[in-house]
Amino acid sequence: MLAEWFRELYRLTGINLTIFTDSFDQALFLRGLGTTVSLSVICLSLSLLIGVLGAWWQASRIPLVRALVKGFVVVFRTTPPLVQIYFFYFGLGAILPRVPNAFGVMQPMVGNTQWAILSLALFAGAFNIEIFRSGIEAVPRSTIEAAESLGFSRSLIFFDVVLPLAFRVCLPALNNNLVNLVKTTTLAYAIAVPETLYAAQQIWTDASNVPEMMTVLLITYVALVGVLVAAVRRIEAKLAIPGGMR
């Protein structure tokens, strides 16, 4: 039904949207979209975890731990994510041993998708650490003192008082970074992870419909980002404290 309509569109206008008319291309594109979504969700969760742990360790009493976190943040924030991906995938991937898979065929220990997840999560995580750090600094010292005087332990103060307050302060910056992360998942294309961009390229190579697929790509990403932004808005509204944060 829909396919018919798009076939008619192609006949009349020359706009060739094979993802609607060709079941193979459609499956390819949907798989790519699925990969992008799962890549985004996994990296997003991991990067948040890295952000929380990093911010926690950045306040550590051990100077070496603080220096390591700081070094990690600086290096990952000031180098191109694509080069990071290459460094991990080609550089470290080449050094790691190859292991036999279920069928006894030798293959790399860490696959390209896993490397993409790892490097993207580290990249976004480094930004999240900085974001959480500035949020934590915004929590007044006096509120922490009140928690101390009630006998709260260090971890209880961090997880029950500081983090919930800091999280609300840094939601806008976090939103920006997570939007960036979704956009950055396109870089996985460079190491042949079959995400949306990769699938789109396969389709346009085959059907030579570059302008159509480009437009589809742009709309897809703008929509994905839109969904994420709307989700964060809902979280923001849900977490809003009645009466504000005095």
Binding site: V74, T78, L197, G226
Partner: protein
């Protein structure tokens, strides 16, 4: 101190990887030897990255300033159009915009019978300039709106026109406020230029892959070579970041 420790960390990261970094065995150049041999080419590639970044930033800033003024224009139609364009180019991935320019722009123009070539790297400059434009527009809007309304009223009471107020009162105050974000954006563009390798522009990352292929795909060279690329970007972008934070601290508007 902090700067030094961060640098030392990166060096350690790059250098400590495979063990026999200095030894040359059986005619193969050692890792450092290979890196030394290819460094001039790789660095010329990096210079190309910097050229692309500067041009993209210049073009994007000019376009972005115009778009940004559109965002604060009195006409609601103009405002809405500018807003849509800004949001679109801000939310589209850089790599997809790059593909867009690469594949959809002609490789040459015919101007009055003469054929003007339109090489890939020029398209890359345009591809990077588009997100720069959208981000600059946002920076301009943010800065203009951060100026207290009393400034507009004061200028108005001196019977300045809207245009005069904007150019003589508001924008001069904005420049200072925009500088940190704008520099941050430049740092992002510089890092993004490595994306041009995906579409075949011979910048540093492309040349690195070429060099590695010319060395016969030696696996022990991969990490040091890509580490070197990371290092070059780090050395260039880190001081920009430090400077940006200093400006931010100095111009902190409370």
């Amino acid at each position: 101190m902090k700067k030094l420790s961060a640098l030392a960390l990166l060096f350690a990261f790059c250098a400590c990887l495979p063990g026999e970094a200095f030894a040359a065995d059986g005619g193969r150049p050692s890792i450092l030897g290979a890196l030394w041999k290819w460094a001039p080419l790789l660095l010329s590639g990096f210079a190309f990255n910097l050229l692309i970044s500067v041009l993209a930033m210049a073009l994007g800033t000019v376009l972005g300033a115009v778009l940004g003024l559109g965002l604060v224009a009195p006409s609601s139609g103009l405002r809405r159009t500018s807003h849509a364009a800004t949001q679109f180019f801000r939310n589209a991935p850089w790599l997809v915009l790059l593909f867009f320019c690469m594949y959809l722009m002609p490789f040459e123009f015919v101007v009055g019978g003469a054929v003007v070539p339109f090489p890939g790297w020029v398209k890359a400059v345009i591809g990077f300039a588009l997100p720069v434009m959208a981000n600059t527009a946002e920076i301009v809007r943010g800065a203009v709106q951060s100026i207290p309304p009393a400034q507009w009223e004061a200028a108005e009471s001196l019977s300045f026109t809207r245009r005069q107020t904007l150019w003589m009162v508001i924008l001069p105050q904005c420049v200072k406020r925009m500088l940190p974000s704008w520099m941050n954006l430049y740092s992002l563009v510089t890092m993004a230029t490595s994306l041009a390798s995906v579409v075949g522009v011979s910048e540093m990352l492309t040349l690195t892959a070429d060099a590695l292929a010319a060395e016969g795909g030696r696996t022990d060279l991969m990490a040091p070579f890509y580490g070197f690329v990371l290092f070059c970007f780090f050395v260039y972008c880190y001081p920009i970041g430090v400077w940006t934070r200093r400006l931010e601290a100095r111009y902190a508007v409370k």
